[in-house]
Symmetry: C2
Subunit: 205 residues, 2 copies
């Protein structure tokens, strides 16, 4: 029977998940309330098949905890769990060798499926994180770009020059320069390349 260690500083969250995995699935479940306690717990017995780490937890220190856990216990599957983390964190975690990433909004049944997946040797990555649909109203920093500035940004994102953009938008080059200048300020970046990169990172275009 698989043995799972859950480390999360929220007692309620940790214990309910543990209880669910124990009763519904029959897993052996250990718990810890912070990162160091988790590693301590694993020292005694080497039979922990999976370690579930809360991303926001004392001692975790972002992805450092992941790295440390993987180094000290290479045979144990390590899965990150988070309630707030975004796609980038999940991607980074997977890139650093996590065996899975569990958003807390996942249904209990799906979480179990994910865990089984990982125990079977697969890696679990929640689909909605793969290409998160951008909110129709652009988020945060992009929200207060004007119509024209947004169109300009779009052209920046294919690497066009001011002249080309001017032609495409049917305005003078000076106007494009103005738009560029303004959008750089609004996005808080210092040149067009950074603006394009930023927009791409946020999957705007």
């Amino acid at each position: 029977m698989p043995c799972i260690l859950i480390a999360d500083d929220h007692d309620l969250v940790r214990d309910t998940i543990a209880a669910y995995l124990e009763t519904a699935e029959g897993f052996t479940v250990l718990t810890a309330s912070n990162f160091d306690a988790a590693l301590d717990n694993m020292k005694g017995l080497e039979a922990v098949d999976m370690l579930i780490l809360d991303y926001n937890m004392p001692g975790m220190n972002g992805l450092d905890g992941l790295e440390r856990a993987r180094k000290t216990h290479p045979a144990t599957k390590v899965v990150l769990m988070s309630g707030v983390a975004n796609k980038d964190v999940a991607n980074a975690a997977m890139a650093q060798g996590a065996d899975g990433f569990i958003p807390k909004r996942l249904a209990a049944k799906s979480m179990v499926n994910a865990i089984k997946f990982v125990l079977a040797g697969e890696r679990y990555f929640p689909f909605d994180f793969a290409e998160p649909k951008q909110a129709e109203t652009p988020t945060g920093q992009f929200a207060d770009l004007s119509e024209r500035e947004m169109q300009t940004l779009e052209q920046l994102c294919i690497g066009l020059s001011n002249k080309e953009i001017a032609r495409n938008l049917g305005v003078q080059e000076v106007t494009v320069k103005l738009h560029v200048k303004n959008l750089l300020a609004k996005l808080n970046v210092s040149n067009r390349t950074q603006a394009a990169l930023l927009a791409k990172e946020n999957h705007l275009f």
Copy 2:
């Protein structure tokens, strides 16, 4: 008990998968050897929970088949299966509303897990497709960049100016300009923004 319809023109593949799902999991499995036969099969009974479509199959016509299947049977989960398709196809399929994508190289056990996933209302997307690791030797156009040019490109990808790059690399600004000019030519793009975008698209940095 879930009812699954598998459509694949390779008899061996189709029937072994069907047999496996029937015996090992107890699913009810129907089969079809091309796309139109699959749709015909579904006309009679409305109880097909999941439709597994081979991406390369007579009548499938790329992602057209996916669209047609989804329109005519909105209640049925549709999963695409392929032995050769790459990440882009998988992404496109998921974007068009497929409930899952199964590469044929998946272990049988994992495939079952994926199917259960989808039947449970999740969407399955194989992790290795999410961020395919770039070949260590940079592909094609990036292959003949020199060491320094590659380093320069890396800095371009965070939107730095020539001056900043020069400082970071410990050389004069003119030298950076030279590297930039050369790498633009090698990558066949016309400015630094396009170079950065291109590198990012290929997940170089």
